[in-house]
Symmetry: C2
Subunit: 472 residues, 2 copies
């Protein structure tokens, strides 16, 4: 193996500057989550394969990375599958463990397993990598981080209000008011009511799949799919109107949140007349009205909210509110919603939950493309002592440790290398101050300190240098 | 699957309080690493199996968790191994990826892969989980965190000095001076010199293995093993003397660092007379003398350092300094050393490195057993608004967001549940202040604030409450 080494497709190394940026995103999200009373947990990267399969459907199961059993795994392999070279059939008998593909299923498992120790409603957040055997492409990785917050064990819509306010707080801080973003909100029950009002509730799931494609295939495409399902044209037209993607409830663009809320209440009022006779529809409208009323009163800092009756976020497990956040030209950077029976699979019924997940990797790209990262000044080394040889080095060592004990990130170049090499090191590492100590400096006790940004030099005592760094 | 769910053997969930403690350890180590100029990187959990196998020997290879290829993996399976049901032989053809079992090998791979972008000497730290298919037992897990710092691309022994000072800084902070710990130091070259001085260099590796067992099998056991290698008794006796585990160089217990250093220089002087004629021996002694001299001058805050010529840390890849940190009654909590050719496997020769690794899981146990964790006051929710119903809730919501905007972790109970239930929630979540707002409070604008620790109540405006929390 003397070839240049590589890493698996779809995975990445993170360099120091990338880590600084990523930690900035994680820390911001973490701080906001904590402000709202969320507590951090972690679950193992590996779960029992049983825990993971069959929760997200067949397509999801294919995305799961399985871990080969240790030792002589073929001894317990499924004989028939082995003979038939049936990969799918063999897997369960040679791989009992797998890497989690999201943080929601492990969380549901955690809640059931620890239900006696948890005080409900439980507000938990979790920031960990997840793994998916997806086809890698730009912006889609096989290992990436999710940043989830969920509240489990409470039906209250105040939780939805909190989650949207969290989104507002996080992006207000990360985008610094310099970037437009939209929080689209819907309620799965409204979708149900709309479909029910035209009498097509039996085809609900297929219709949702078709509507979900609207952005990709356009109005005509959706019409065609509905026609293929044998839905009468009249019903299709009504559906499109109610979904506000044709004439009737068409979304008018507005530029301030006050008008946005007014518009949304109008839309909900319009829908209420049309689908108010369906139980689901009326319920969904009431739920959204509650959320919008609270948000309007509390105000939003920078978020544009939008009621989008077409928002479905796949067939997933959502049963109530659905949330999705977008910035122009980027795929969704945050999403979530309410689910009523996530823990059912593990034997705990009727526990409602609602949550959101920030996509750290996409947010990373958005901030980079828009030049929105801070400078991370104090994060790297602040002071470098140049190494001029043994005597000077021995003079500098106690000074170096004075700086470190004052909490200032600092180092001495470990060898008496050429001055040019040491300065290049300081430059490449973005070090703020370089300290030069020769015989003059040792005699006077004043260090020559070069500011690497401005190029200026000054003579400072160690205390003056410490003070300078502390005020940076 | 309606059975109570579980997680794989040797893995763990971490609850909020466990996370707070773990983050405290990670943050402390991270802060100290940064103070010494180290920069953080991360590498993927998965590496190509090729990268990992054959770096730590056959025993290590067995500890690697392999990831089953996606899709129809049997289509490309090794036909012969499949027929013979040869698990070992089959693995490479059905599992191209694996989970890293340490952070050192991925770091070596990273350095080679990114050598053109790295400024050497490169000080990197890395805090990530690693996975080992080890037999799980008390204190030994299949998924655990390592906290590594390495300097690569510098021979300078100042790096060793820095690493030992880092150990001193980290445990001074974590143990708060309340716990004795010992940093044992040796140099692989001294071990070589000792073995060489009795003319048994051909059996070096076997002898090291035997010596490494001294703590377990005692003096007699080691003697027996040496005898089994056909080493003449006379040579064994000399070996034992030089290793200071018999009469000659016996380690005297001393209680302060000044005497410790004096003792260590005496030991090194004694050894120098005996093995000074071997090249390795003399070199090793000089290296350790340099490190001890610097440490003595700079001083140590709480670390007890000890020269231990028997310290080998397995056969591993160490070629120079060897370091191990122990607290009474616990296995090693930190270890490391210098290696001269870690990147050689990946095609980059002659790059020297030195590093340490803190074992976060063991440190966790040490701090817990000795009651050394801080209280994590601000980490959880500080203020809870009791929910007395819709009107009161609407009055409280803007106040809640005033607290949050001031950076104070706070929440409102999401439902108008029984008072007892809400107070129990506050108690279980260790919330500091509970705010009660009824009609009196809404009329006066003064909130009734209960201190959950003392049980006392007072009437405060929202600004007074904010100030109170900020000064916590």
């Amino acid at each position: 193996m003397s070839n240049k080494p590589s890493i698996p497709k779809g995975t990445r190394d993170f360099s120091p500057i990338e880590m600084a940026r990523r930690n900035y995103i994680f820390d911001t999200i973490k701080k906001v989550y904590k402000k709202y009373g969320f507590q951090q947990i972690e679950t193992p990267a590996m779960e029992n394969l049983n825990t993971l399969v069959g929760t997200g459907g067949d397509e999801s199961d294919k995305l799961i990375f399985k871990i080969l059993n240790s030792g002589d795994y073929l001894a317990k392999a499924d004989e028939k599958a082995l003979q038939e070279k049936n990969s799918n059939g063999l897997t369960k008998s040679i791989a009992e463990k797998a890497l989690h593909y999201d943080l929601t299923v492990p969380f549901a498992r955690y809640v059931v397993q620890n239900q006696n120790d948890i005080t409900f409603p439980f507000r938990r957040f979790q920031i960990q990598p997840v793994w998916r055997a997806d086809r890698p492409q730009k912006g889609r990785y096989r290992e990436f981080y999710q940043c989830d917050a969920d509240i489990i064990g409470s039906d209250s819509l105040l939780n939805e209000v909190d989650l949207i306010k969290i989104i507002d707080d996080v992006f207000t801080e990360l985008f610094q008011g310099k970037l437009n973003y939209t929080v689209s909100i819907n309620n799965r029950k409204i979708l149900q009511g709309i479909v029910e009002s035209v009498g097509e509730q039996d085809k609900f799931e297929q219709i949702v799949v078709a509507i979900d494609k609207y952005d990709k295939i356009g109005l005509e495409g959706v019409f065609k799919e509905l026609k293929d399902m044998n839905i009468p044209e009249e019903n299709s037209l009504t559906l499109m109107d109610l979904l506000a993607i044709r004439e009737g409830g068409k979304i008018i663009e507005v530029n301030n949140n006050k008008d946005l809320f007014k518009l949304m209440f109008n839309q909900l009022g319009f829908l209420s007349q049309k689908i108010g006779n369906t139980i689901n529809g009326q319920k969904g409208i009431e739920e959204l009205e509650f959320v919008f009323e609270k948000l309007e009163k509390l105000g939003l800092k920078t978020a544009n909210v939008k009621f989008d009756p077409t928002l479905a976020r796949g067939l997933g497990y959502y049963t109530g509110t659905i949330i999705e956040v977008k910035v122009d030209n980027f795929p969704s950077i945050c999403g979530g919603g309410r689910y009523d029976d996530l823990t059912g699979k593990f034997g705990l019924k009727d526990v409602s939950g609602v949550g959101i997940s920030f996509g750290a990797d996409r947010i990373y790209d958005v901030l980079l493309d828009n030049n929105l990262y801070p400078k991370f000044e104090g994060d790297s080394t602040q002071v470098l002592f140049v190494n001029f040889g043994e005597k000077e080095q021995d003079y500098c060592l106690p000074l170096l440790f004075q700086l470190r004990d004052a909490g200032i990130n600092s180092e001495i170049y470990p060898d008496n290398a050429k001055m040019q090499k040491q300065m290049k090191f300081a430059n490449n590492k973005n070090i703020n101050y370089v300290v030069m100590v020769g015989s003059d400096e040792m005699a006077s006790g004043k260090l020559t300190v070069k500011n690497m940004l401005t190029g200026t030099q000054e003579a400072l005592t160690i205390s003056e240098l410490i003070e300078k760094c502390m005020n940076l």
